[in-house]
């Protein structure tokens, strides 16, 4: 028989709840280590993503000089001169040692200095990416925000009226929105709104802002930025709205069957309090991680949307950088995107801990 453990402090108060023994200090310690573990894991994922991106870029065929030369050539420069011009701009050594490059790259990663864009060497890659990314983040963010507002309310309403015509209609719309590619939907919107009906000033809406509007903290600028971003926002909102709607409906349906909701009704609580404090709050919990996931996939999927909508955001830039073989930009963009996805999910996790008290003590499985 093993030796008995050191006697704990005498504490035999009736009904001493188990949590008391762990004490706040321990909880905080565990909590801290959980956060630490999550962060360490995130850093590892970012490193892996960076390395994979580096390798992909490194072994991707195609020479940025030749590609730029091709562009110059087709815009009216002789082939020789085009190559010379491209060489003048792009300092790129295709034969450099992989390891040296990789180590440089890692060093750059740590020091946040990934060098300059190949095709536009006067800018650091971060500057370059930041030129575009905020616009996409703005559009995606606004789209997701819109989707959250619409999707969650409609989804919840549908769950409340399960089986009604409203529910069937909304569920169909939700499946439609999630099922049909968002770029197809937005293309259809353009064709119908612009080409067929002529009510959508699509061509004026392209780009980020209208000429003459100075960026700044004023209504005109924001109004204009929104005017230009409205189609991307709608496009991004499409899928997200659909999936939030369906998920929210499912989650709400699930929560509605929970005992505590029935109990709340039995308690004669007001309907509004039940739907907000009891149903909504709990149904939201599983949606929150999906919001982060949606943000990630939408930013990733912005390539096609921005292409169709001619919205110069991160997707277009990425596409451009890839076809130009502007490796540093691609790397930086991917790393920034990956990092933001990772950070978003980290934030969501940490946020969930705040809104769902159950996680703090039990759910450390992650």
């Amino acid at each position: 028989m093993s030796a008995p453990p050191a006697p704990p402090p005498q504490q035999h108060a009736a009904d001493a709840p188990p949590a008391e023994r762990t004490g706040p200090g321990l909880v905080r310690r565990v909590w801290a280590s959980y956060a630490f573990r999550r962060i360490r894991q995130s850093v590892f994922v970012i490193w892996l993503v960076a390395t994979i991106t580096f390798l992909l870029m490194h072994f991707m065929p195609g020479d940025p000089i030749q590609i730029m030369a091709g562009r110059l050539n087709s815009s009216g420069m002789s082939h020789e001169q085009a190559v010379a011009t491209a060489t003048n701009i792009i300092s790129y050594d295709p034969n450099a040692n992989v390891w040296v490059q990789y180590l440089d790259f890692l060093k750059g990663l740590v020091t946040f200095d990934l060098g300059n864009s190949l095709t536009n060497p006067s800018k650091t890659v971060f500057e370059h990416v930041m030129e575009y990314l905020p616009w996409t983040l703005f559009a995606v963010g606004a789209g997701v925000a819109l989707a959250i507002v619409i999707g969650l309310t409609v989804g919840m309403a549908a769950a409340y009226r399960r089986g009604s015509a409203f529910d069937h209609a909304m569920t169909s719309i939700g499946s439609f929105l999630t099922g049909v590619p968002n770029y197809i939907l937005i293309a259809a919107v353009i064709v119908v709104g612009y080409t067929m009906l002529g009510v959508l000033p699509f061509l004026d809406m392209r780009g980020r802002i209208t000429a003459g509007v100075e960026p700044g903290f004023n209504l005109v600028f924001f109004g204009d930025a929104i005017f230009h971003a409205i189609l991307p926002i709608i496009a991004f909102a499409f899928t997200a709205t659909g999936s939030f709607m369906l998920n929210m409906k499912a989650a709400t349906t699930e929560v509605l069957t929970e005992d505590y909701v029935t109990v709340a009704q039995a308690r004669g609580l007001k309907a509004g309090r039940i739907s907000r404090g009891y149903v909504g709050r709990n149904a939201m919990l599983p949606i929150i991680p999906q919001i982060a996931l949606q943000l990630g996939t939408l930013v990733g999927g912005s390539i096609v949307i921005e292409q169709i909508l001619q919205y110069p955001g991160a997707g277009q830039m990425l596409m451009q950088a890839i076809s130009n073989r502007d490796y540093p930009v691609v790397q930086a963009a991917v790393i920034i995107l990956a990092t933001s996805v990772v950070i978003a999910s980290l934030i969501v996790d940490l946020f969930l801990v705040r809104v769902d008290p159950r996680i703090k003590t039990e759910g450390q499985e992650a």
Partner: protein, 395 residues
């Protein structure tokens, strides 16, 4: 009671079984040193509150988990020493029946295919026809007749009791010598529970199958293990162990007493009479990660004596018992054992020469029937200590 003196090794023996789980909150000693044995055709019933380690013990006995210390021996052979042939024999001889009859059956497979999978796998049948015939036979054995109306059913087409019977049939397919039933009847309704227990009892008697029977329901334990033994577990340890009629009718450990006292009997008059029965000092079970010092039960124990109970862990000591040899703590020991300082002390104090058992605290609360006081058999003991095995009403 077919008596004693079997020298052969018991079917299953647990020796100092310990199971410590590593959890985020620290090590959890779910089972902390359990010695038990089950003999062929006999029932050993394990009872105790939720979380006391019954399932963990059973799973280790079934070889599902590997204990962190101690040994599981099958027919005298420790599991760890077995070669693959022995191991597979052991696997077949020891079958496990789960608690939840719904979850234990694969919803995508028919009864027939559930029953024949093991048969086919172990080459116990030659072909499909034979397998099916065997399956039908098994269904009859567990009283699912006519078998053909069940063979091609899916689990969701069966009721809970029927499913549990299929589970039993599946384990019988392996010709088991030992059935480990983990709360196998607790999800069933009373009437169905009885009939299943009766079926299991028939298997025990007719097929000489041994049972490690786990339940938290003392009534079930009493009903099914009347001829066998009961071991009461508390926080990973056996606190009382003995023949069923003894343990139920004359519990010694305060915990066992509390358990028996807490049972609600289907008898309104009896219930009314015992309404004011004693309470434990605390209703909460301590956490396994943070066990109280000394006797793990002391924070709740009505017989708690400061300085004695919270100092050291009590050992499971033999207290003897009527008609059972008290000497020789060897494997053939059939006496009662209790792990309680107070009981141990009182035995040595009042019975230096081996007299009668005496307790200094209230005996089982709640077994007093109005007007039944008169049958107290020993005026020197506490007035509460009343009936031994006297049945107030019988069949």
């Amino acid at each position: 009671m077919p008596e004693t003196a079997k020298t052969a090794a018991p079917l299953l023996r647990l020796r100092g079984l310990e199971q410590v789980f590593d959890t985020k909150k620290g090590p959890v000693a779910a089972v902390g040193g359990v010695d038990l044995e089950v003999k062929a055709g006999k029932v050993l019933c394990l009872v105790g509150e939720s979380g006391c380690g019954k399932t963990t013990t059973a799973r280790a006995a079934a070889g599902i988990t590997r204990p962190t210390a101690g040994a599981v021996e099958f027919r005298g052979r420790p599991l760890t020493d077995m070669n693959s042939g022995e191991k597979s024999a052991y696997r077949r001889a020891v079958q496990y029946i789960h608690q939840d009859p719904y979850a234990a059956l694969n919803p995508t497979r028919t009864v027939a295919s559930t029953l024949t999978a093991g048969l086919k796998r172990h080459g116990l049948v030659k072909n499909r026809t034979e397998a099916r015939a065997k399956a039908a036979e098994l269904l009859q054995l567990v009283e699912l007749t006519p078998p053909e109306s069940y063979l091609d059913s899916y689990p969701h087409q069966l009721s809970g009791g029927q499913r549990q019977r299929v589970n039993v049939a599946r384990s019988l397919a392996m010709n088991p010598e030992l059935l480990i039933c983990d709360e196998s009847t607790s999800m069933l309704d009373v009437s169905i529970r009885v009939s299943l227990l009766n079926t299991l009892g028939r298997l025990r008697d007719d097929l000489d199958v041994g049972f490690l029977f786990i339940t938290h329901d003392l009534a079930v334990a009493k009903y099914f293990a009347w001829d066998g033994e009961i071991a009461v577990m508390y926080l990973g340890k056996v606190v009382e162990h003995g023949p069923t009629p003894e343990v139920i009718g004359n519990p010694q450990h305060p915990y066992t007493k509390a358990l028996i006292g807490a049972v609600c009997e289907p008898d309104p008059d009896l219930a009314k009479a015992n309404r004011s029965a004693d309470q434990l000092r605390s209703a909460e079970i301590p956490s396994l990660t943070d066990l109280p010092a000394g006797c793990a039960f002391h924070p709740r124990c009505p017989a708690f004596e400061p300085g004695l109970c919270d100092a050291a862990r009590p050992a499971l000591v033999d207290t003897g018992g009527p008609g059972l040899p008290t000497a020789g703590a060897g494997p053939e020991r059939r006496g009662r054992s209790v792990s309680c300082h107070v009981v141990a002390r009182d035995i040595t104090r009042t019975r230096p020469s081996g007299g009668d058992r005496t307790l200094t605290f209230d005996a089982v609360p709640g077994s007093r029937r109005p007007g039944a006081e008169a049958s107290a058999d020993d005026p020197t003991t506490s007035p509460a200590e009343s009936e031994s095995s006297g049945a107030a009403w019988s069949a």
